[in-house]
Amino acid sequence: MNTRPALGAALRAPGATRSTALHAGAWWLWALGLAAAASRTTNPLLLALLITVAGYVVAARRTDAPWARAFRFFLALGALVVAVRTGFVLLLGSPIGGTTVVLVLPEVPLPDWAQGVRLGGRVTAEALYFAFTDGLRLATLLICVGAANALANPARLLKSLPGALYEAGVAVVVAMTFAPHLIADVLRLRAARRLRGRADRGVRSVLQVALPVLESALERSVALAAAMDARGYGRTAEVPAPVRHATTALTLGGLLGVCAGSYALLAAEGAALGLPVLLPGLAAALAGLRLGGRRSVRTRYRPDRWGWRAWAVSGSGAAVAAVLIHAASADPSALNPPAVPLAAPAFPLLPAAGIVLLGLLPAVLAPAPPDPPSTSSTGDSPR
């Protein structure tokens, strides 16, 4: 009798704090799963469904951090991709023939050496439709990446890097904190030009403060390097030579395998070959990274935990990808409807249900970000 409410309470997503927050990697796996699914279809209905799912999860689970606010930018980028893709077809024509002429633009006569290129002329509905769906697929991929970017804290993601990649992670984190400083410096120095009676607007004013800005950036990096050194950065442990060589071999071989495998997986053909190459490559690379981590004496403070919610979120992405990969081979005409002859795209029920039911799981399962009122109250506290 009592098990039911207890189970319900255990399933209900907790508020995201440092200890319950979802592993940043889980968000990326989920988003990459959606992206892989999107790469398998040009059906605009399914693509729109994927975008909606990604957007809904972002709306439900993002924080008010600066990177989370960048999702809008990715949506705009997606729209731009679709517009450019269709714009090109409008201007330059398309190899997709088609008979339904929508409009005829005046054709610009081009010289002989530009044979094969056409400016203006007939624009068919089929060509427009093909370009639109093709652009939409690319836009969906971008929006999925944008969703991961909005949901996963980049600093926490870099903290979960294996020890061997730690230096690279630090470089990125330092760069991320440096960029705002640099912009502030440029603005301040540019404003200060006014005090010398020089123009503080226009491109010239930015160029002329470049040198002082670089000087102060350099000074700041030297100060930071000193501070990091004084705080123990760069302490290393001794590693025997065979281990070092094994590390190099495993890492290089593994990365090659990962590259070849993921290419095969994402390309239209060769999915069968993809996984067998990808998985051993991944394993070798991970082993290499693990061995490489022996050089570092570092420990990690409160790393993100990979709990069952992380499994569920990354699994939901993988499941969506699996459903669409299966559907693409089982029912190719529904997932990649031909542009010629023009017809309303079918709405394949099974993949659609898969996308919605599986893809939306994180919106329920992932820990919820803290409520805005509580953040604003902490915002007032320092006074």
Partner: protein
């Protein structure tokens, strides 16, 4: 705990050592304050303890420095990270991560401490420094005092036995400085940490020191000893010590409280002098400090000079947030006005609005009788009406040499060639032409920036936090220059945390809080009553309204012609 053994440091290319003949031992659990004028080698000496000198800065270290038994010659800074914690003047240059909690853990991660230990120490440190409420906050969103506390916390988590701090409070307002110093006090008392501290603003820290490490001048061997004894012969000293020296008190009082106990007879004498001046109560006392009246008696225009700046209901917003709200301010020629208030109160914004860097959201601000609106005036014209020396004078200096900077300033201002160089020579006789502005000391750089601004001879001169990083000698020189300028009919507006400077220079003090002017009046009236903004002398001699040592000296002079040598006799000085 720290042992210096015949240490001297010579930087590459320098013809003489930055410090030499250091031979002393800092015992465990002491708070030692390094005291000395600019360029006497305080930072170098501090750097040798963490190993950054010479491992990071280059140069040659002769002799031996050992910290907790480790020789810094064989241990680079990273190998000393678990025994020495270093905090500099600018906390932002120290942070590696972006949130408070990660920053506290960073040093421990580098040392490879077990996760459970790290977690416990982070929680302890959050409580010790009062940072628990800020643990998830991005560091960039904290105030200056909070950032400095995070910086201290970030080195404390490694449980260092020595803490080295180079001017930790010089960028902070008085309240934030108290916060940081209270933390240091607590570390010394509760954890037995050895603290080695350098600071220019001695009035803030000297009372906390167990011992003083005096560096009398560049190249002279430093002396470690009792604070009161060394303050008696130190070339740099806070106002309370100056008063003690003037009155001939021995041993010298270092705190306002000690000085007050001794000051009863002095107060009586001064009260008599007040009556002799014909000013029985504070309100009737003239707002202009005596030395001003002496130097600028001819102009005496402080009340009636032409208006150089007028702000009415001035409002400035950043985004939707009002930074300034309904400011009314009038500045006349020959006047010095000090803007005070905590960090973020809007002082810098008000100064920037005067030179048109912000467009007023409401109200108006005009310059001079011509009624110039700053943000609509071309920079080249504005230059001749108002000049601002920003918080970091380096923002104004672009050229590679002092000479090139001067030539550029002449061109910018349309002044005859040589004008700026002449000003520099007058203000800074010792600076050669070929030196790079970034190689100057803080004080020299500020003076160079001031000369650059003065080349255009603006009647209104604005200075943002001019005494940051200046020692007492440089500050006195700046005060002299500014006094001459007001005597010549300029108006000076200073935004400053330095209550001693405000007391010495300003005719009027305007206190800003949350973008509103909460007080505006003659310096003695505003400053004496305020616990945060009262200078040390005012606290010692209250309720008598004396603000600075020169005032007291001046008042005592007629009755005792050699006041500094004679003073009140020691018997009367005893409480």
């Amino acid at each position: 705990m720290i042992r210096f053994d015949q240490v001297s440091v010579t930087y590459d290319g320098a013809d003489r050592p930055a410090v030499q003949g250091v031979d002393l031992t800092v015992p465990e659990g002491e708070l030692v304050l390094a005291v000395g004028p600019s360029g006497s080698g305080k930072s170098t000496l501090l750097g040798t303890v963490s190993g950054l000198v010479p491992h990071f800065t280059g140069g040659t270290l002769a002799g031996r420095v050992t910290v907790a038994g480790r020789d810094t010659r064989t241990h680079p800074p990273r190998e000393l990270a678990d025994v020495v914690g270093t905090v500099g003047q600018d906390p932002l240059a120290h942070f590696v991560t972006d949130t408070v909690e990660d920053e506290l853990a960073y040093g421990m991660e580098s040392l490879g401490l077990p996760p459970a230990t790290m977690r416990r120490r982070v929680e302890e440190t959050l409580d010790l420094l009062g940072l628990a409420a800020l643990r998830d906050r991005p560091i960039a969103a904290l105030s200056g005092g909070q950032q400095q506390r995070v910086a201290i916390g970030s080195v404390l988590t490694a449980h260092p036995r020595v803490l080295v701090l180079d001017e930790p409070t010089s960028a902070l307002d008085p309240g934030a400085a108290e916060e940081v110093l209270a933390v240091l006090q607590r570390l010394v008392h509760d954890l037995g940490t050895t603290v080695l501290l350098a600071e220019h603003r001695l009035e803030r820290v000297v009372q906390y020191a167990d011992q003083v490490l005096l560096l009398p001048a560049a190249g002279q061997p430093p002396v470690l000893g009792d604070p009161a004894e060394l303050m008696a012969r130190s070339p740099v000293f806070p106002p309370v010590v100056a008063l003690g020296r003037l009155a001939g008190w021995s041993p010298l009082p270092l705190t306002v409280r000690d000085a007050r106990r001794r000051a009863a007879p002095l107060r009586e004498r001064l009260a008599g002098h007040g009556a002799g001046h014909g000013a029985g109560h504070p309100a009737a006392r003239p707002a202009v400090p005596p030395q001003h009246r002496a130097s600028s008696s001819a102009s005496s225009a402080s009340a009636a000079g032409p208006v150089l700046l007028r702000a009415e209901g001035l409002q400035v917003r950043r985004g939707r947030l009002p930074v300034l709200h309904g400011i009314d301010l009038t500045v006349r020629a020959g006047e010095t006005v000090a803007l005070m208030g905590r960090n973020g109160a809007g002082k810098s914004t008000l100064l920037a609005a005067c030179v048109g860097m912000h467009r007023p959201a409401a109200g108006r601000i005009v310059l001079g009788e011509a009624g110039l609106v700053p943000h609509r005036t071309r920079p080249a014209v504005l230059l001749r009406h108002a000049g601002l020396v920003p918080q970091d004078p380096r923002d104004l200096l672009y050229a590679e040499t002092v000479a090139a900077e001067c030539a550029a300033a002449d061109r910018d201002a349309g002044a005859p060639p040589g004008t700026c160089r002449e000003l520099v020579t007058r203000l800074l006789p010792e600076v050669p032409d070929a030196v790079h502005p970034r190689d100057l000391s803080e004080g020299q750089r500020l003076t160079l920036a001031l000369a650059v601004i003065l080349t255009a001879a603006p009647p209104l001169l604005l200075l943002d936090e001019p005494t940051r990083g200046l020692d007492y000698a440089a500050k006195a020189r700046l005060a002299g220059v500014l006094r001459e300028l007001t005597a010549a009919g300029h108006a000076v507006v200073l935004a400053t945390h330095d209550v001693e400077l405000a007391a010495e220079l300003a005719h009027r003090v305007v206190v800003l809080a949350d973008g509103e002017a909460v007080a505006d009046g003659p310096t003695p009236e505003v400053v004496v009553a305020s616990p945060a903004f009262a200078p040390q002398i005012a606290k010692v001699l209250a309720p008598e309204p004396w603000l600075t040592v020169p005032q007291v000296r001046h008042a005592l002079a007629p009755s005792a012609p050699s006041a500094s040598s004679a003073g009140p006799d020691p018997e009367r000085a005893a409480p």
